[in-house]
Assembly symmetry: D2
Homo-oligomer: 263 residues x 4
């Protein structure tokens, strides 16, 4: 480690830019940082965030100051919540002298899940995330990815026995007026599927999930509609986007459905 | 292989749906298919497409007919061009009885590139793509990803010698009124960078690219602006989106800039 | 483009290294190049290779000459076969003054597949590859990844109706004394599964694959054993490695089995 | 949730298998689980493991019992250390009635890093892992991935000014007779590079890292050799494997070197 430089170093980023082009977003991406998120059961859950942090850049500046994004992240010490994010947006705007700030973070989120018959417990991971933007007013989106089982209604109907089923992945994003827990969104999605997935299943559980899925066939079209019905019925939710991708067990490609609504 | 079933099988997808929820997009994703794309030099280039094909689904139908997407793909025999795509959109709408159809395809695209001094030739790959939508009128977007070298202006300015540089990835999407070749977009982007990348470089070439990059420092902010200037100057281009991600050689995270404009 | 440099440039790579450490493999990775592979039906198939090319480096040299790997690739013009690869290994050894050379290439490979009842045709992609090494004698490994359907024997046995099933991925590598086609290995693996996957399935086909999978339940353990039985019975095959990963439709994690044998 | 099944369900996995093929490894893969790892500074670090857990399966059993792998994981409550892993291997062998057990886990590991001049602190992530096997005796391998900066000695030598540099990724695996901290391996690798990477760099730091990299040029060949020299000099280390991949800033492909040694 050397001693600090004595003469001030030129601030190239701060110089005037003559190209007359404002930039919508500039910042850092792929920043990994340990975070704490709120959790309905234990209040706080340790996990790891993958961040994109950006601000706008007016046309007259040559560049932004990338190190300040990391400093803001450090100062927030990884507290991620719908309470902490507005402060972080504000700090980004102040430190970067910007009008708009944008935070995207995704993180693994764990829930304890019990097997449906034996009650055997295990941990299951869901990839969750927040998208927060300050542009005049603050905007906040909550995102979850929920793996589920889907059993094909057509295959069940036309076959003498059996029905093809597979793992599918539901990605949902919501805006809300009153706090919605990640766990609530996960449960709304799981209960819309042919069956939820479980970390630990003993034989009586496996019998139950097999029969439950067979009794509740779902196309990708059914999945997006069932989740949409639940989001429609929840008055806290004001906007949503639902995407379902089924890793079909009869094809090498996937079935896909997408729906976006402002309520 | 068994003999075909004699009694007609129920068409579950065609049954009435009472949930009253129309679906924005439903179809297939992750479909790999050999394709031929137009190429400025050789006219036709064999490559491999990764497709998402979707249509809208009115609220009164339970499901779409997934196999028909693949049939439409087969019937088009992999001819991918701004001429062939409107026909494919039309076929999707007809076969699926839909109002809207959407095709996304990405594919590796190769260009022969010569080393800047020795002229040594090699092949370089660019991930390209088309996004085509039919919704009343047809919409067509051309997409390219171009890896480039960027050398940091700040690092160059403040250091006694050297300057950190790295590989960056520029993703550009454009809409146009008159045909623009993929190769033209690639060249506009490469000429905006500190230096283009090359498949084969002998020592005189390596000297040239090293010095050329040092003489042309670029922040991610400069990259999006330089590309924007070129897109602004090209009257064929009516809309663009530019994204730059720098795999910084001084950080484990990336620098990022984004710009979107309707001209 | 500038004029070539007049004075010879120092060859740093060729200088003496005093650390006395030989390097097992040095070269280039992630090189994309258009290739042609042999195909049982059409003789030649255009595809795209992703290459790792390496040689050994004796302890007394500072570095290898990276551009020569690309030159050897260019000179072979993408002809990839068990006939062409020995020449390419030889060329690498000569051009890099090395004792050992190693080529790994993976590529998408397409087969036309017919639906089991209607005979509807479509294209299906398999990720294939070659591993070739010259180290005294030449060694050649053929690799294929085959997605299949697996239906759980336990779930079928214990449930009143239905049985969970899912997409699984079988990765096989073989050494052989007489030529084995990629298509043959793919067929040996598909016929070991609960059911093969298909690109296009109409309703009579979907009924057939659903019932066929139900009649042929397979654990991951069954999958590796069934494939092993077929490889054991084929006298051309002298060594194999089989890996199966099932994307379980009842869990968010995968079931896994692995087997390696010299015959 | 339904009531448990009254009649015992058949144990298909336990039935006799007549194919006479023992399986090397069978188990679960892609299991995410919150874990705690030992850390030189704070003693314990919360992170998230991605597990593959397997055992061997004798030829006479049809299948293994997948749920027991998850039960063993739950019972160990995520304590991952060279002390806890032997117990977990033992538990796997007992619960699965196996002769051999195998655990692979990778996890993000964070270190606080100070900028070289200003001392500004930030968190930096390294992908680390353990590979533990019980097969007669216990075997333990520690793995780390360390991103670094490399500056090309050839480019520096032949160019009037500048030198191409880039992010590289060093993957090292070691066996040892006396405990080696993850942090120690990371530091051995970082000090072998042209320069370490840092999460936060102010201008005086950026000047320092630019000049430091320029003063310490490294080919991928130099990187593996410099790390090998450090591993050779450490008497605790008995075996190692070193892999370096440079995301070249002059090419779209990567430079690569690999070395494996038993001391």
């Amino acid at each position: 480690m050397s001693t600090p430089n004595q003469t001030p170093l030129v601030d190239i980023q701060n110089s005037i830019d003559a190209r007359n082009i404002a930039i919508d977003k500039v910042g850092v991406r792929g920043v990994k940082f340990p975070i704490v998120v709120l959790d309905r059961t234990n209040e706080r859950q340790h996990t790891i965030g993958n961040f994109t942090l950006t601000v706008d850049l007016p046309h007259h500046f040559k560049g932004t100051h990338m190190s300040r994004f990391l400093e803001v992240l450090n100062e927030n010490k990884g507290e991620m919540s719908i309470h902490a994010l507005p402060n972080m947006l504000k700090a980004l705007k102040e430190r970067l002298t910007a009008e708009r700030a944008h935070i995207e973070v995704s993180f693994p989120f764990f829930m304890v899940k019990k097997a449906p018959v034996t009650g055997k417990e295990g941990m299951m991971e869901f990839e969750c995330g927040f998208i927060a933007e300050s542009n005049g007013t603050d905007d906040f989106i909550l995102a979850v990815k929920v793996p589920v089982a889907t059993l094909c209604p057509c295959s069940k109907e036309i076959s003498k026995y059996g029905a093809h089923n597979q793992r599918g992945l539901v990605t949902a994003k919501i805006r809300f007026r009153d706090m919605v827990w990640l766990e609530e969104v996960i449960e709304m999605i799981e209960s819309s599927a042919s069956c939820a997935l479980f970390p630990v299943l003993k034989r009586p559980d496996e019998k139950w999930v097999t029969e439950h899925a067979y009794e509740n066939p779902r196309f990708v079209e059914d999945m997006v509609r069932e989740v949409a019905l639940k989001f429609n019925a929840d008055e806290r939710i004001t906007w949503y986007e639902i995407e379902v991708e089924n890793f079909e067990s009869i094809h090498a490609h996937n079935a896909y459905a997408y729906l976006e609504r402002t309520k």
